[in-house]
Symmetry: C2
Subunit: 669 residues, 2 copies
């Protein structure tokens, strides 16, 4: 075990040479991963593109521990030329000399801003993103039947290798390293000032567009909560009683939610334009996601080789497998909810019959049991949903994400909202609805705050211990050897520290939290106007605690580009439409309001009146959405200008090519 | 009066020279239009573009009648080069050698299909469209204060002259001439075979995309009426009685209407792609409509000079003038409807009190009076709507059309549907609803058929007389003189014949008819299932009579390009959404259905049940619309491929330009 790996020796040229590239990404193998496998991975990383490699620079640090364990950490980087080539391959958008974003091409680099200094032309996040993409693009060839040294880990031609190794736990950690200097500067503006504007552009620069858009949305949504919160608070403080009070608040909220969602779309379009991530044309020539697999064919649009997976098969998988499985899960969640109310009714009856302390305690039982059941179901469902989503084999990352979002939303909707619908429209118990809603909202937020702010804070000591342990392990090292150049001690320490950090699971859960909160605030706002106040309080701290976590608690995530918040926009819009229906129904069911109607009104007229009111509100909503353009005018003009230039260029190029062909013909004659 | 116009003499070079251009468009001045005005127009037509002229070829035919009247007819054409330049200026789409449509450019002509033969490269309809556009682009310069000879006809710099002359009746007629050979061939396929497929591509070739899309839509919609008509007929024949009968039919219709509208969108996208009229990019660099006016400025996207009219002013005009005036008109129509029902109630009461024949006759009075009032209101409203729409000064033809459509739809909706809503939901008299609906639908169709098929047929004799008169006038001529070449006798006759033909008013009325019919069939289908049968019968003849009129009754209209049916798509979709609401309400109000519900059901539960059913149906509708893509996949791929090529070309062009700049710099050093 203490021998130096043969392959590394051959490749490495002494351990005292300093690095000739900037290490950007850390890949940590599990303890005692077999040497053949490590060597095989390194060869794949270093091999040229022609031989299906990633053509990257790698240095390996092999640590032999006293206990005899050996650990290998790879530091990965790339030559400037390699990274620029990667940027071109992935159609990275960079700022052109005319101030617009254009797809980067190496030949044209001098015309891009900052293109004179090729080494620093790409940002650190971009370089890391490029390396990540290249890592994912290492696919098994026909010669790779299994991972060397692990016969049971089978490989399939065309599938990505890194993902396989991660899922088989041969790779323990794969993360881009943090830029502590930048983090410190950004932190001052971001989480150290609770009421300052977030440094969205810096966040985009460091974490990429997807995460920056989440924080932009969170900030925007929090601002938008202020008016409903103020009104809700006024209502509560003045206890201003009025028959129309609920109705006024509900209508205000519905209009406000629509304006908010439309205004966000505009703001988002502006950000996307500023960051160069706005989609000009069809996504048909977007590159497929790394894990997309299928028979190798070529893209019908670009003609580039890529895996082909027939749509019919995806549809078959979706309707044949996903839909039935989801239905089963949703039904289970629904029955759990019914069981909860049935159980609650029983214990309530017990308590009424015998008001002993045991029975009082028992009345809390169903809630506890339900919470546990939901947590278990949730954990199972997420696993299932991920497997199903992977199985559907979506071509684009965006459609993969959107399908995942939809799956989670469906389930959370059943978990969180169906019980409210049940109370409101089946039991028709407004008092229970109010208390149930308040309980759900407030407990969700408190639990969330504990999970997100207090636990990380408490865990700080645990992390410190973990870190200590990591450092001690360092000291216990029998020997550390480097291959392909030596890593500085600072970098060694930094990578050890960051490898103990938590992994950021993506924006999914963060959005989901906001989505549920939005539902609680707007779906039943006529019953519980104070909801917006609670939500606002929560979000003000949420922004800063999320920011802190991003900078200090999590490993740096790989940047991802995004031009909008994807399926979340639709999800929020669906809630805002449902809110019209629920609030109309709630107000219609309000006995106070019903008293206002003539006493001789027939049920038929009741139906007609409420249907009309609801549809007028829906029409107002659609009208607002229609009259607020999704894209600000200046962005629209800029996009049109770019499209126009591209059109002119195409024409010019055609004419020139035609002229050349003609000339050639002439000379032949 | 019998003198030969001086200016013409100078310009004309003898009257016996034959034409050196193909006459394509006929411009007929009113009798005794002053010579100065005619000369001025001719000079504008002939002047070069630099001197704000149209640079077209014109020959004038001056007819002196015995009574001393003089009439001038201009025959307008253009040189091949001039027409090709016009095609390039208007971004005409033509088929490239690779089979795709591209914007035509003269320099690249050899790479377009048919480009070897420049004279016949453009179709007749295209040439006429180009000439029409150039005519409209003749704008008053700063020197043109009024029309020469007519001091009271003031001109404003930047406004089109031809429109002014048309509105002042100095120009009596302006039309492109028919191609009788092509018409004959097309007629055989089109209106002489009642059940054959329409020759849509030929129609597009001859009449342009806008009219072709109307006929494609009419055919598609007629086919789509078959299933509801068959079911309606079965219901009527078998008198199959079932509690759910109406509900089943209504649900089928709602789903079917959605599928039809979605399928049409796909078919329409396919046609637009085939004809090269599909919009690839923003309309911001589309050319403004000819009558768009404003301070001269430049387009923010293309940089080309064009009139600029601030959006704020348009919004002000819309909300400050259009909206109040429209509201007034709609209110008037609404009160007319109320008056009708009030009047009807009175005469019905009279008849009940005294069943005399006079009172029986009186019961028909309100309907007659209402019909007359509506006809008058309608005529006034159309004038107002046109003026308002012109006043709003829309930049693009499409947005002008769409606003006009919306204005007309609003009014017709009040006229035609509000009375049905009133009967259904205010009077709640299902029997009256059915008879009222049947009466409206059937009388509308019969009146329409008479107007469209029988009157034109009867008028044929009147037209023959008119023609005779025109011919006689020809014989009475004292002398005919030509300037700039002689017109063949055939052409003289053809232009005289066509100048007596009716002017086609555009597709607006034709679509409106279909729109109202669609409303009658689907809005209340659960009450009157036979509606679809009537509609189907009507449309089968409608297609052929419309086709006949297009070919034989009307002057040839100028071709217009279009990529979809514009606001009509939205209008039909709105009706299909409203149909969900009305049908749910109708079924809910059905006493048969109400008997099915538990007798102890509360009004509150009634509300809930019907709201739920309606929303489920709406959700199904949205689901169907979502799952049927608007554009067929092959069109999508083709469009993406074109966009991709354009992107690559842009990159290439940039790089080449950069290389040239570099080289130049090097040589300077």
């Amino acid at each position: 075990m203490e021998e130096v790996p043969e392959g590394l020796k051959q490749r490495g040229d002494g351990s005292k040479k300093s690095l000739d590239f900037e290490p950007l990404v850390v890949l940590e193998f599990s303890v005692n991963t077999k040497q053949e496998a490590i060597e095989w991975v390194i060869s794949k990383l270093q091999a040229s593109s022609e031989s299906n490699g990633a053509d990257l620079c790698v240095t390996a640090m092999v640590m032999q521990h006293n206990q005899g364990d050996s650990e290998t950490v790879l530091f990965i980087g790339g030559s400037t030329d390699r990274l620029l080539l990667g940027a071109e391959m992935m159609d990275l958008m960079k700022v052109y000399k005319d101030g617009n974003h254009r797809e980067f091409t190496i030949n044209d680099i001098t015309n891009f801003r900052g293109g004179e200094d090729a080494d620093n032309f790409l940002t650190m996040a971009e370089k890391q993103m490029i390396i990540f993409r290249e890592l994912q693009n290492i696919r098994a060839t026909e010669n790779d039947e299994n991972v060397p040294g692990y016969e049971f880990i089978k490989l399939y031609t065309g599938r990505t290798i890194v993902k396989k190794l991660l899922s088989q736990d041969l790779i323990k950690n794969l993360f881009p390293i943090h830029d502590n200097e930048f983090l410190k500067k950004m932190g001052v503006e971001w989480y150290k000032q609770p009421f300052a504007q977030q440094p969205i552009d810096k966040i985009q620069h460091y974490f990429g567009q997807k995460i920056a858009l989440y924080f932009a949305f969170l900030g925007f949504y929090t601002l938008a909560l202020i008016p409903p919160a103020v009104i809700g608070l006024l209502y509560w403080l003045t206890s201003w009683q009025n028959l129309y009070r609920e109705a006024i608040f509900a209508v205000f909220n519905l209009v406000w939610a629509t304006i908010f969602l439309e205004a966000w779309k505009r703001y988002c379009a502006e950000l996307a334009f500023k960051w160069g991530s706005v989609d000009l044309v069809s996504s048909r020539f977007e590159e497929p996601r790394a894990n997309y697999h299928g028979r190798m064919g070529k893209n019908p649009v670009t003609g580039k080789p890529e895996p082909v997976f027939p749509k019919s098969q995806r549809v078959l998988r979706f309707y044949g497998v996903t839909v039935p499985v989801l239905c089963l899960c949703l039904t289970a969640a629904f029955y759990a909810m019914l069981g909860y109310f049935w159980f609650q009714a029983i214990v309530d009856k017990w308590y009424l019959e015998d008001k002993g302390w045991l029975n009082l305690l028992n009345t809390f039982m169903p809630t506890v049991v339900y919470a546990i059941v939901i947590a278990i179901l949730n954990a199972i469902y997420r696993k299932i949903a991920t497997i199903l989503n992977e199985f559907e084999n979506h071509r684009l990352q965006t459609s993969y994400d959107n399908h995942m979002i939809m799956k989670l939303i469906l389930f959370e909707f059943i978990n969180c909202f169906i019980s409210l619908f049940y109370v409101a429209f089946y039991l028709q118990d407004m008092k229970l609805l109010k208390s149930h809603l308040a309980a759900l909202l407030i407990t969700t937020q408190i639990v969330g705050q504990i999970q997100e702010s207090i636990i990380p804070f408490l865990l700080h000591s645990r992390r410190a211990k973990k870190l200590d342990k990591a450092m001690k392990k360092f000291d216990e090292l029998q020997k550390v050897e480097f291959y392909n150049g030596e890593i500085s001690e600072d970098m060694q320490k930094q990578s050890s520290v960051e490898s103990t950090m938590d992994v950021y699971e993506g924006t999914l859960n963060d959005y989901l939290e906001m989505f549920l909160q939005f539902g609680y605030v707007f779906l039943f706002s006529s019953v519980f106007p104070l909801a917006a106040v609670w939500a606002l309080l929560n979000n003000v701290t949420e922004i800063r605690s999320d920011a802190f976590k991003m900078c200090r608690v999590f490993q740096r995530p790989f940047a991802e580009s995004a031009s909008n918040i994807g399926a979340w926009q639709a999800a929020f819009e669906v809630i805002s439409v449902m809110a019209v229906m629920t609030n109309c129904a709630l107000i219609g069911m309000n006995p106070e309001i019903q008293k206002l109607l003539p006493t001789d009104i027939t049920p038929v007229n009741m139906v007609i009146i409420f249907v009309i009111v609801e549809h007028i509100l829906l029409a107002v909503k659609i009208g607002i959405a229609y009259f607020i353009p999704d894209v600000p005018k200046w962005v629209d003009v800029e996009l049109a200008r770019i499209a126009y230039q591209s059109k002119l260029a195409l024409q010019k190029e055609q004419i020139e090519r035609a002229a050349v062909t003609k000339k050639n013909k002439m000379t032949t004659i």
